[in-house]
């Protein structure tokens, strides 16, 4: 039984379909990153999960229990928001205590003056304070407990927001781009911390981000969502090396994968010197050839490979990105090189562009991945 199951969730706003039947399972203790470009429906999905919004159709199960009749507060799902959503008028400590106070104190015990006179509330409040301190210790924010959100930095607010979500030991943890308001250095640091916290707490987590690097580096499994469809759910290596759809291949990887139009003919795909035999039956016609930039090499002499020209070079320290254009077809091709390979290259020069045919992926006209016969490659490594 999965910790969290989504079955065919559909949602549309005013005729615009936001979610087209999303199904997803999160196993116990798993960290799943839900990644996709802005507006792909990932935040909507998270809000529906949390009970803040309703799906048009589909089911949500938490630990096998149907969540559709359960209100947001009773789902025991915690959420960290992009804006942190801390209560501005409360100190960090009071912010963290709110979910506990709402859960443990009765309605009358929460009343401002009368509440403090009722029996039993003192013990509960002591317990809450103890739990808040413990959580603050875990996140190293003990010294911030008396400060208000306005007096804290972005990173500190983010930790307080995490503490407020974790303090009630939720059964599911939802995070909506919690790192996107931090500066770049802090973000990389915070990534490691969140993964570490997840490992310690073991709460199944659904982490929404638009940053593919964040998703690949943090998650056990990555769910790629584009245009309201969940295109692929797999381990980060599989998502990168073996994408199921052209949109997944395009979205994941920096710089972006090279997509070159090619022709399928009698079960074979041909582009310049590349010939690939397809395992699946495909009607003759246009298909797409995908090759990651690291599998493109440049020959400065121009004696081998396809004739092309370097339009722009980007030096990034450990690597050099060469933006090239093929003379024959006019397609743009990006090559990711190590600096010593790029030593003799200058922008504007003519080069030979070598593509690693055995690393090429073929996508059908609708974007679906087409498998290639492993033994069918008769071509040399680089063409």
């Amino acid at each position: 039984m999965s910790a969290l199951s989504l079955r065919g969730l559909k949602k549309s706003f005013g005729g615009n379909a936001i979610l087209n039947g999303v199904s997803l399972d999160v196993e116990a203790g798993e960290f799943i990153a839900l990644v996709g470009p802005s507006g792909c429906g990932k935040s909507t999905l998270l809000r529906i999960l949390a009970g803040l919004d309703h799906a048009d159709s589909g089911d949500i199960f938490v630990g096998g229990r149907d969540m559709s009749p359960v209100a947001a507060a009773d789902r025991n799902i915690a959420m960290v928001f992009q804006s942190y959503a801390l209560y501005p008028h409360l100190t960090a400590g009071q912010n963290i205590a709110v979910p506990l106070a709402m859960k443990r104190l009765s309605r009358s015990q929460r009343l401002p003056l009368i509440g403090s006179l009722l029996p039993g509330q003192r013990e509960i409040r002591t317990g809450i304070t103890r739990d808040v301190r413990e959580m603050a210790g875990l996140l190293k924010i003990d010294h911030l407990l008396d400060r208000k959100p306005g007096q804290m930095s972005g990173g500190q607010r983010q930790r307080v927001a995490l503490a407020r979500a974790m303090v009630r030991h939720p059964s599911i943890f939802l995070m909506d781009e919690p790192l996107s308001n931090l500066d770049a250095n802090l973000r990389v640091h915070a990534r490691g911390e969140i993964v570490e916290l997840h490992r310690r707490a073991g709460v199944p987590t659904l982490y929404v981000t638009h940053d593919q690097a964040e998703a690949l580096s943090m998650a056990d499994r990555v769910a790629v969502m584009i245009g309201g469809n969940l295109l692929q759910l797999a381990a980060p290596e599989v998502i990168y090396n073996d994408p199921a759809h052209i949109e997944v291949a395009r979205f994941v990887g920096q710089p972006r994968i090279n997509i070159i139009p090619a022709q399928a003919e009698n079960g074979r795909v041909g582009f310049e010197g590349i010939r690939l035999a397809l395992l699946e039956k495909v009607a003759n016609g246009p298909v797409s050839l995908g090759i990651r930039p690291e599998f493109v090499k440049l020959s400065p002499s121009g004696r081998s490979g396809l004739a092309g020209r370097i339009e722009r070079l980007e030096f990034l320290g450990s690597e050099v990105i060469a933006h090239c254009r093929l003379d024959a077809s006019g397609d743009s091709v990006i090559a990711k090189l190590v600096p010593h390979e790029a030593r003799d290259l200058i922008a504007g020069m003519k080069v030979g562009i070598l593509l690693a045919a055995e690393q090429a992926m073929v996508f059908g006209p609708e974007g679906k991945r087409l498998r290639i016969a492993a033994g069918a490659r008769q071509e040399p490594a680089y063409v």
Binding site: A73, Q82, S83, K103, G150
Partner: protein, 278 residues
């Protein structure tokens, strides 16, 4: 050339602004001046700002003696306080619902609020008067307060303010286990002080100075608000005693000025309150 042109321009601008300020302040200066004059001073043909004989103490004593000043001020405080209290209690949940909750009648309610903004109290004064008369509620705090407890202006103002509040904050509150009323009490109200303070200035000033409605529903001194009290004052035997009248006017103006100066500080504090966004 240009080095002299700038100061000249500045002098002209400064002079114009001073003139404008003087025109606005003139009645008040004249009020303070008259409050210190004897009857004969006031009715001389020459216009002097400084009284010939300082008669402040006598005029103030007369003002307190001729009308029940303490009752007037107390009535003013009670009426303004009750009106403001009920306006806020009604308008905050209403504005919250209209700003942040989705329901079918939201558009219709918005239209009604806009229409409500267009209807002045004078249009409904007569039916209200008849109704209060039938209920034998003339000459009571109820008749002074009740017509103003639902302020569409307050709803409109809070609505604008609440719309700017981040939805995530409300989502977080719902996930933390708060009911909608709990959100209003624990999240909206503590963060709405800038709007409440700003509205307080409008509401209290308008109702402290209102003469029209108290004149209609109140005929007994026991329920008279300060401006109405001034009317009785003039109609009483002090009829021609402008010195005492101005002293009384000064007395009922001062609490508002003091309250405004105090609220101004809170107001500025409220506006600088931040911390919602990262």
């Amino acid at each position: 050339m240009s080095s002299t042109a700038i100061p000249v321009g500045r002098i002209i601008r400064f002079a114009l602004l001073s003139l404008g300020a003087l025109m606005i302040l003139a009645p008040y200066i004249f009020m303070i001046s008259t409050a210190g004059k004897t009857q004969s001073d006031i009715f001389t043909s020459s216009l002097a700002l400084i009284p010939q004989h300082f008669y402040f103490a006598e005029n103030f004593a007369k003002a307190f003696a001729k009308v029940p000043m303490a009752t007037l001020l107390w009535n003013g405080v009670v009426v303004c306080g009750l009106i403001f209290f009920f306006q806020v209690v009604v308008a905050i949940p209403c504005a919250y619902a209209m700003a942040k909750l989705k329901f079918r009648a939201a558009r219709l309610m918005m239209v009604l609020v806009m229409l409500g903004l267009l209807v002045p109290i004078h249009a409904t004064a007569l039916p209200l008067y008849v109704a209060f008369d039938r209920m034998s509620l003339l000459n009571s705090y109820t008749s002074l307060v009740a017509p103003f407890t639902i302020s569409v202006f307050a709803i409109f103002m809070f609505l604008q303010f609440f719309r700017a509040m981040p939805d995530d904050l409300l989502h977080a509150a719902r996930l933390d286990g708060m009911s909608e009323l709990g959100i209003v009490a624990r999240v909206i109200v503590p963060n709405a002080w800038p709007a409440v303070t700003a509205f307080a200035i409008f509401s209290v000033v308008a109702h402290w100075n209102d003469l029209y409605w108290p004149l209609i529903v109140v005929s007994k001194q026991a329920y008279a608000t300060p401006p109405l009290g001034l009317m009785y004052f003039r109609a009483a035997e002090a009829g021609d005693d402008y010195g005492a009248l101005m002293a009384a006017t000064l007395i009922i103006t001062l609490p508002l000025v003091a309250a405004f100066l105090l609220a101004q500080k809170r107001f500025v504090e409220g506006i600088t309150m931040t911390g919602l966004k990262g």
